[in-house]
């Protein structure tokens, strides 16, 4: 049977497929506090990422990041048949982080998510911060952190760890998406976490297989590209990546098996009040006193919380940077 592959049809199919399976949250599914919170965290991270890559790549960063973002988008079209009409395909966050380094990967994934939202309505605009966080930052953190931990190890070990990192990065994105949906009052925890993690455990296998094969190909052909990535992030990434991976591994079964427990913890922290009237009053304990119980107060509370998160993020980022600097930087090969 002759299969005509029209580029447009293939692209459209890949977008539709992503929409069903992947983690692109559309507008309207997250409430405003969560949207603002995730946007602020994303903005802080992107600011650091821009500064870091500028120092490293200089003027070259615009063409390199731009073309590699287009690459991730195009690579998401590449699929392989699994069974029963389903196919595995690449999301690319972990591969980008391993090959380009964590900060460039964040910028690349942010552009990918942005174009998918602006051009294809795949993922929302106001919730884009959450989408970038789930698909760009978490994947970069886990993908790079775990892979970096095996630097200098034998090739087979590195590839195996890259596969695990790719799988975990998809799971982390799915878990974060579920938690954001739950905190927004859109989904109930006991349903959304097992469902999302179940689906993405399979998607993650496809992601892991392609990532490992692609990385093996690149290591065979241009090992210098991936080795150069060693200078791009220090031990801070390893620690952070391991910590987040561990959190996913521990939190996922807990959330699936005992959602009530997690909800109890959340309400003990004053984080959640299930059964509230409107979606936007989800942080009842986060009411700013002089504003009273209004949506505005909630927004202000959200912003204050987000600033805290942003400060923590920037602080830890500078720690990461210092950790990175303490290492002797190997000579970068001229590309």
């Amino acid at each position: 049977m002759l299969v005509a592959v029209s580029p447009f049809a293939a692209l459209r199919d890949s977008v539709v497929l992503l929409n069903v399976t992947a983690l692109h949250i559309p507008d309207g599914f997250l409430n405003l506090p969560i949207s603002i919170l995730t946007w602020l965290a994303t903005a802080a991270l992107l600011a650091v990422a821009i500064r870091r890559t500028r120092g490293e790549l200089g003027e070259r960063q615009v063409p390199l990041m731009g073309v590699m973002a287009a690459f991730i988008f195009a690579a998401q079209m590449i699929n392989f048949p699994v069974a029963g009409g389903t196919s595995g395909h690449l999301l690319g966050g972990a591969l980008a982080a391993i090959t380009l380094g964590p900060w460039p990967a964040m910028l690349v994934m942010a552009s990918v998510v942005g174009v998918q939202a602006l051009l294809f309505q795949d993922g929302g605009l106001v919730v884009m911060g959450a989408n970038i966080l789930n698909m760009g930052f978490l994947t970069a953190l886990i993908g790079y952190g775990l892979y970096r931990a095996t630097a200098g190890g034998p090739r087979r070990l590195r590839l195996a760890v890259a596969g695990i990192a790719a799988w975990l990065s998809v799971m982390a994105g799915a878990l974060a998406t579920s938690l954001q949906l739950w905190l927004s009052g859109t989904s109930s925890l006991g349903v959304v976490v097992p469902a999302m993690l179940g689906v993405h455990a399979l998607i993650g296998v496809g992601e892991a297989l392609i990532t490992v094969a692609a990385l093996a190909f690149i290591l065979r052909t241009r090992p210098d590209l991936v080795e150069a990535g060693r200078a791009r992030g220090g031990r801070g990434w390893v620690a952070a990546g391991l910590a987040v991976a561990l959190a996913v591994v521990l939190l996922a079964p807990l959330a699936s098996a005992d959602p009530d427990g997690l909800e109890r913890v959340a309400s003990n922290l004053g984080f959640l009040d299930q059964g509230e009237g409107a979606v936007y009053t989800i942080f009842p304990d986060y009411i700013v006193p002089f504003l009273g119980e209004t949506p505005l107060s909630t927004i202000v509370a959200g912003v204050l919380g987000a600033l805290l998160v942003a400060a923590l993020t920037v602080g830890s980022a500078s720690l990461v940077r210092r950790a990175g600097r303490s290492e002797p930087e190997p000579e970068r090969p001229v590309p």
């Binding site: 299969v3 029209s6 580029p7 692209l11 977008v15 929409n19 069903v20 559309p26 507008d27 309207g28 599914f29 997250l30 949207s35 821009i50 003027e59 960063q61 615009v62 063409p63 390199l64 990041m65 731009g66 073309v67 973002a69 287009a70 690459f71 988008f73 195009a74 690579a75 079209m77 590449i78 048949p81 595995g88 591969l95 090959t99 690349v108 552009s111 990918v112 939202a117 051009l119 294809f120 309505q121 795949d122 605009l125 106001v126 859109t186 109930s188 349903v191 999302m196 496809g206 297989l209 990532t211 094969a213 692609a214 093996a216 052909t221 590209l225 299930q274 009237g277 979606v279 936007y280």
Partner: protein, 266 residues
């Protein structure tokens, strides 16, 4: 896929097309924020929001139903919100037992679910109109004016430029694979799962190297043409009185929606 296919309607000359892209971006984002802020079950406000979409769509010259017809892309995600039907306390509507779960659908849950889907559906429509009436370079320039970091905008603009080049390269790879792996009309493709995954991975790795090397050539080409760290445009992007008026009217309308949803009986 070519840019022409994607931007089929961008070349229109309606009043919406000629509106300053900044105004369109701000209105779209505020419209989405407004949708998110509307309480559950604010049906009148939702309906008025849809009226705004239909009106804007009619003004673009693409027909009032243009945005609505294309707005069903995000609906599969509604699955994620289904559980809200059973999660909220309220008057029980119906119940059934599904394996280990006993599910009770409540009226509050149904209203929450419907509201989430409607919010998302309205938001997507406005985003579709923005994309349909604004060329991507204009959109990027608007984001630049709206103080989105220069680097992020430039990377995204350059990504858009090479999107079509690289997706065509990817589809050539896919076509080559299809041509070399004949398979029976019914039945599975050949090879084990791991083998198929490795082929796909090699294609991705191949595309990676081609893209990486291309980015080098692009960089040299940019330097040769005098790139100084800023993309230039001939479009002046001046806010005219009309732009201000439309922006203000839209904001007033959105404010009205919020007031209606909170004071009216609906």
């Amino acid at each position: 896929m070519r840019a022409l296919q994607l931007e089929r309607y961008v070349a229109g000359d309606s009043r919406v097309h000629s509106l300053d892209p900044r105004v369109k971006v701000v209105i779209t984002v505020l419209f989405i924020v407004s949708n998110v802020l509307l309480p559950d079950g604010a049906w009148l406000a939702f309906l008025l929001g849809w009226a705004l979409v239909l009106l804007s769509s009619a003004l673009t010259g693409l027909g009032p139903g243009y945005a609505t017809r294309r707005s069903f892309v995000a609906l599969p995600f509604a699955l994620a919100a289904v559980s809200a039907i059973f999660a909220l306390p309220g008057r029980p509507l119906f119940a059934w037992t599904l394996g280990p779960w006993h599910l009770v659908a409540t009226d509050a849950g149904m209203i929450r679910f419907a509201s989430i889907v409607v919010r998302s559906w309205l938001s997507v429509q406005m985003a579709i109109l923005l994309t349909a009436t604004t060329s991507f370079p204009d959109l990027m320039h608007a984001l630049r004016h709206l103080r989105i970091p220069r680097l992020l905008v430039q990377i995204t603009a350059l990504m858009y430029r090479y999107l079509f080049v690289l997706t065509e390269e990817a589809s050539r790879l896919l076509r080559a694979r299809a041509a070399r792996s004949a398979r029976p009309v019914s039945g599975e493709g050949g090879g084990s799962l791991a083998w198929r995954a490795r082929v796909a991975g090699n294609m991705a790795g191949n595309l990676f190297l081609r893209s990486y090397e291309r980015s080098d050539r692009v960089h040299h080409a940019m330097l040769a043409r005098g790139y100084r760290g800023e993309f230039r445009t001939l479009n002046p992007h001046l806010m005219r009185r009309e732009d201000w008026t439309v922006g203000m009217l839209a904001m007033l309308f959105l404010l009205l929606l919020q007031v209606i949803s909170r004071t009216g009986s609906l």
